[in-house]
Symmetry: C2
């Protein structure tokens, strides 16, 4: 039998959003309407709408952190520079559609109905854009001899050093290209990565992929601070999208930083951090709070009452000891003890089943954006790896570093300046 | 330093829900208020509220399927019957609190503030109940010699046979006890399983655990039908909670079924089904629809226009072939060709990273409830395994069967009748 017998209707996602969706769709197709908006300004008011894809910076960095993550690192399998460029162009066009909540193409539209594989895999039909953002980054390995990019490798895109206690699995680390998909609906994030993987077939292969089920950071003052799997509020002293000046200092690569093609971009460090939640759960509340340096219930710095009270590193308790212990996580990670270095943290909680030893394979997929990892992640993590008491309960098992270029303007593509 | 210096506030989840939360809390503590409600009647109107834990049936079976899953199978590590019973009592008390959106106990309340580990792990503080349900089931292995339960093993709790094409990994299969946690918030579902695992420390160990990021079935006519990772609507012809009479025939174990302690309960079959999405995605739309027997866009049976139109197995196309192909999934699985047997499907989409071959480890964590697997899952799956064209694209890699007893009444505990 053939399917032409049946009066099927291809439901495109576009059709479902009425006027607002249509406007977005026009903007995407015409590559014009939203071009002046920056990522910061285009936050959707609710969490079902779209986040603007085009702008001076890539979305998904200072965008108010969405609830769910699908992160994928790809190995480039083609050795042809032209094929890689063609792929990045196709991905960019797809990303503009996906983030607008639209399917990629029509069902089987290529060779007449029914004869071709559907262009879109379909599992997001009926779902709203759900604030999907797609953020691309290029790993150090992309700058080897294959694509003639060696001279374009930014000095800041260093290979991360080995940190004390690291137990890094190569299969969960590195990657030529990373795509971070964030959305308030996990099916939308999964759909996006899957369709990019599919478009890339024969040119890239998924090296590893990570689902995050809950954000562990807030990146906007409008968001409540979520909790990580140690039960603590996480993201209180994070860089926030409202801190425009700090973002320029700490997150966005500036024209004077070298590697011209990275201006307006940011460096992403990803760390898969296993958390030994079973051991943590047997630690007393007092010990837990001493390790972090904040109260578990309120999230307030020890010695203070409210979450957003400033940390007082000088105050001493009745026992003469600093209220914020010298080896507490917030002290060791604080800019005051790191030459003013800060990070925009954007991590996600994960549980990937169990580990064969009766324990949940749970933890934090740490994602941090910054202007220069040599001055930010690396020194901070060096200090944490050396003295943070938290290390007794955590374990870094995956690692990546990626140069995420500036935003895409209508008509350009992801990484255009890199290949220029 | 001690933490007593700091004016911490233990924020209990209870405090956050105002009057409604307080009423629920009283009901739980007093084990009285809601006792007359059945699971079907107590659906929360929005998806942040609680689902009643007590009732004639366990919640989480006909409860309108929540969006997220955390499923865990446990091995019992104690060999003492008394310890197992004590655990089930503690779990039941905890489950009543968790499903009401309350923490288990107070932070460090046991030995004075700060000195004891917090009773609750804390990562759900500030989150609403989010329709959490916790559903327990007992696997065949629990009825071995250890706990004197051999004579209580229901005849319907068979060991599942090997089906053609099965490629079952023992580490992802079986289990003495399963707990299905469903919620509209994944952090709430993760928190619940984690705290049960923690309470069980030294008595049970997690054998395997599975996160599902999106439901693949609707179990109520009030729900829209979600899509699975093949992009098709899934759950259209599912048993629905509104079909009270059918539920008695097909889902709930009746007093005359033998194994008295199972009356009001149901048998759960779980199958971890890997879906070869990369291969599926290269299949034409026509072929995909022929394999399933429904249109991809609309979800309508082939030859019909609307999703909920009745399937016409007799109608032929202009080519003289049945519009619903003989080897299509919906024909082979339909009650008309299975002696009237039906299932209440309640599965979830999963993506567990990638498989080392450049492909996503993605699929369906199939969960189906039924009155008797010998008459329902086993014959249906035998037929599907033999002739379903879908088998070219899927792969059963995990398997479990569990006897889920009837509901818990206030004052009783999970499995009380089994141990009576
Ligand atoms: C599983 C591992 C980790 C856990 C559980 C954790 C947890 C926390 C918590 C609870 C806070 C306090 C709340 C806040 O201000 O956000 C915090 C702060 C912070 N963490 Fe972590 N963290 C982890 C790993 C890391 C890593 C690897 C880094 C960077 C190398 C890092 C950098 C920071 C920074 C910069 C702050 C803010 C400190 C301040 O300025 O007050 N954390 N973390
Ligand atoms: C990855 C594997 C599977 C996929 C992708 C899949 C997909 C589907 C789809 C798209 C439908 C049509 C919509 C609906 O009525 O819900 C359906 C129906 C159905 N499936 Fe599956 N299914 C899978 C595995 C199974 C298994 C293992 C069983 C049971 C052994 C099963 C039993 C059924 C039944 C009973 C129906 C309803 C048929 C009817 O009465 O019309 N499915 N499935």
């Amino acid at each position: 039998m053939t399917t032409e017998d049946a009066p099927r209707k291809g439901i495109s996602r576009r059709g479902l959003f009425g006027a607002a969706g249509a406007a977005v769709a026009t903007g995407v197709a015409g590559y014009a309407v939203h071009s002046a908006l920056s990522g910061e300004e285009s936050q959707a008011a609710d969490n079902t709408g779209p986040v603007e894809f085009h702008g001076p910076h890539q979305a998904g960095i200072v965008t108010a952190a969405q609830d769910r993550l699908h992160f994928a690192a790809f190995d480039v399998t083609t050795t042809k520079r032209d094929e890689l460029i063609a792929l990045l162009k196709e991905w960019t066009a797809a990303a503009a559609l996906l983030t607008a909540g639209r399917d990629i193409g029509q069902y089987g539209a290529v060779n007449g109905p029914g004869e071709a594989p559907p262009e879109d895999t379909g599992e997001a039909v009926g779902l709203p854009p759900a604030r999907l953002t797609l953020t691309i980054g290029f790993g150090p390995s992309l700058f080897d001899k294959r694509f003639g990019l060696a001279s374009k490798r930014p000095a800041a895109l260093v290979d991360l050093p080995h940190f004390i206690g690291d137990d890094i699995e190569p299969g969960r680390s590195g990657g030529d290209i990373a795509v971070q998909a964030c959305s308030d609906d996990p099916q939308v994030a999964v759909h996006a990565i899957r369709n990019l993987a599919r478009i890339g077939f024969g040119r890239v292969a998924v090296r590893y992929s990570q689902l995050g089920f809950g954000r562990t950071s807030s990146t906007s003052r409008a968001q409540t601070t979520p909790r990580n799997l140690f039960g603590f509020k996480d993201g209180t002293n994070n860089l926030k999208l409202e801190d425009a000046e700090k973002l320029e200092q700490q997150v966005w690569v500036q024209p004077e930083d070298g590697a011209e093609w990275m201006a307006g971009g940011s460096y992403l460090v990803s760390r898969r951090i296993r958390m030994n939640i079973e051991i943590w759960d047997r630690t007393s509340l007092g010990e837990q709070e001493t390790i972090i340096g904040r109260g578990k219930g309120t999230g307030a710095p020890l010695g203070k009452a409210e979450e957003f009270d400033a940390i007082d590193f000088v105050a001493k308790g009745s026992d003469g000891e600093a209220k914020i212990p010298m080896d507490s996580h917030v002290r060791l990670a604080h800019p005051q003890f790191n030459n003013g270095a800060e990070l925009l943290r954007r991590g996600y909680n994960f549980v990937d089943g169990s580990d064969g030893l009766g324990r949940l394979d749970a933890g934090l997929f740490f994602l941090a954006y910054q202007r220069d990892p040599r001055k930010q992640f690396i020194p901070i993590q060096t200090q944490l790896a050396r003295t943070d008491t938290l290390n007794e309960y955590i374990h870094h098992v995956g690692s990546g570093i990626f140069a995420c270029p500036g935003g895409v303007t209508p008509g350009s593509y992801w990484g255009e300046k890199l290949f220029a």
